[in-house]
Amino acid sequence: MLAVSDLKIHYRTLAGSVKALDGVSFSVADGEIMGLAGESGCGKSTLGKALIRLEERMQYVGGEVTLDGTTLPIADDWAMNPYRFRKVSIVPQYAMSALNPTRRIGRMIDELLAARGLKGSTLRPELERRLAVLGLTPDVLGMYPIELSGGMKQRVVMVLSTLLDPSLLIADEVTSALDVASQKKVAGALVEFRDRGYVKSMIVVTHDLAILAQIADSIMIMYAGKLAEKAPTRTIVEAPAHPYTRLLLGSLPEVGIRFEDKRLPGIKGRPPSLLSPPVGCRFRDRCPLAFSKCVEEPPFIEIAAGHQVACWKADAHAQG
């Protein structure tokens, strides 16, 4: 099980530090697929990356990450290495270009495993079995990445990332670059991997709420570097408590409705700059329900079992 408490990650820029992740606390239970959604720049990808490898310009400011009772040294690139791939793994946003173009796939995997002190030949049968689960023949191991289609490359990366049965898998925008049919396959594969026990728990980072509604057990919504709401998928879809979640859901087209003369509402305004974020609730300026108390920062509190919200009016909504 993953527990994150008060995690703060900033980006160093010439203009100052951008507070992309500003005190985030949540947990993911074993066997849970948690969807992580929000608009561009809300910090969802930063959160995903922070759990496995900080980029050079990402700066760890504070907070703690615990996985299965062990504290992950996420600020220390070198000390974090033993946990990568074995305990925490990632299917990156750029899965199409994640494989070295000048190595045969099987050889690249063997070399990676050897570099991690494992033997490619002993893991080969399991590798081939898992490829077969996703409908790939062992032939792909003898091919160069350019010989595979985009969807095939994505599936190879999914198999490779989960080969050592990590406790936590971060799937970063894995469906974003795919057509609808492939999206469905990849989403199904994520659930399949969890059900087969290849990964214990999963964080699926995406801006596509429709995919999350199909595969996620719970959904966490982020806004401007902070958590807005986390709840079981059903609750988020049917009874969202945070005004941002409601507007986000309201921006989606509904099945069966023609949008010829009716415009999708969308959310007016833009998210605040994270260089110097405003005090209080960060959604205040765009929120239709904002009132005087919103200049104070709302705490991220549990309003029902497994349902946490950061909004002063959340209680009233949940009840009314």
Binding site: R53, F85, P92, T102, A115, Y144, I146
Partner: protein, 330 residues
């Protein structure tokens, strides 16, 4: 694969024909006439001069119309006959070239290959290592911007003239006999150092900078990020980056060959080194059509062959070109 090579070969043959034509035309655009120069050197009486001129004109086939000379040139070419030198009459041009080629190749091959290899390694090491990068980068820019002959003159002045460590000119000690002896070989090597060093250093800077930039680009690529996210050690990531960064460097090698050959010619002149550059300079000074043609022809063939080899090597090292040739599976 075969179709690819056939297409490449066609382009090379076309290039060859055009280059040979230009090679034939250029000496003939020079003002003056080689036979006049030859005759005036013999300096006979005026009426004898006229007879001698017409004799030599006929002997070198220079009295024929230009188109006929052009056709003669091609047909002789296919017989491996590059004509006889005018300045060193009657030595065949092929003999002169054969004498000069070992010196030029002895300079070119080691300087091209070593500078390429060392430059790539130094550049790869410098990438993402602050201290090394801060010294390699400015030094590399300085070296690559240096003209070949200028560096040659500088080396000759400092190491040859001022410090007296190395000889200033010639391919070997002129008091020695040309023979297979350790003494002669040592002298060859001793005279070789400075011209080699000037060629090597200029080329080194360019390769090091190119490699450094390519490695940084590769280390930021998606596959490198993915490997690092899966905990791959630096060693593996750098190994992949190095191999992939080599690909543009191989293309660069092909493009640079011509420039390096030109640089070698100038360097030989600076050091009075008895290679092709030296030969072509005396050919030009004496309006020796056949020597000029012959040397340039040799260089044309050499550069084209080297490019062809690089093309073939590229197909071997980059699977993407191979797949592209056979049709994509995706």
């Amino acid at each position: 694969m075969l179709r690819y090579l056939a297409r490449k070969l066609f382009v090379y043959i076309l290039t060859f024909i055009v280059a040979v034509t230009i090679d034939w035309a250029i000496p003939r655009f020079m003002p003056g006439n080689p036979v006049d120069a030859l005759v005036s050197r013999i300096a006979l009486m005026p009426d004898a001069n006229a007879a001698l001129t017409s004799y030599f004109m006929a002997a070198f086939n220079l009295d024929q119309p230009l188109w006929q000379q052009y056709l003669n040139f091609w047909s002789a070419l296919f017989h491996g006959d590059l004509g006889r030198s005018i300045m060193l009459f009657p030595t065949p041009v092929t003999t002169l070239i054969g004498r000069a080629v070992p010196y030029t190749l002895g300079l070119l091959l080691p300087s091209i290959l070593l500078s390429w290899y060392v430059g790539n390694v130094v550049g790869a090491l410098a990438a993402r290592r602050k201290l090394l990068d801060n010294s390699v980068l400015p030094l590399g820019y300085l070296l690559t911007a240096t003209p070949y002959m200028w560096l040659g003159i500088l080396l000759a002045w400092v190491l040859g003239s001022t410090l007296g460590w190395f000889p200033l000119a010639f391919g070997y000690d002129q008091s020695l006999k040309v023979e297979w002896s350790w003494q002669f070989f040592g002298s060859l090597l001793y005279h070789w150092v400075l011209p080699f060093a000037s060629l090597f250093m200029v080329a080194l800077g360019g390769w090091a900078i190119g490699m450094r930039n390519m490695i940084i680009y590769e280390l930021e690529s998606d596959y490198a990020n993915y490997l690092m996210a899966l905990g791959a050690p630096q060693r593996l990531v750098r190994k992949y980056a190095f191999r992939n960064a080599m690909l543009p460097q191989i293309t660069g090698l092909a493009l640079q060959l011509g420039a390096v050959v030109g640089g070698a010619l100038v360097t030989e002149i600076v050091f009075s080194y008895p290679g092709l550059g030296w030969l072509v300079l005396s050919g030009i000074q004496n309006q020796d059509y056949f020597v000029i043609q012959g040397v340039f022809l040799f260089i044309i063939v050499g550069v084209l062959l080297a490019n062809l080899i690089v093309d073939i090597v590229y197909v071997i090292v980059d699977p993407r070109t191979r797949v592209g040739l056979q049709g994509d599976a995706a």
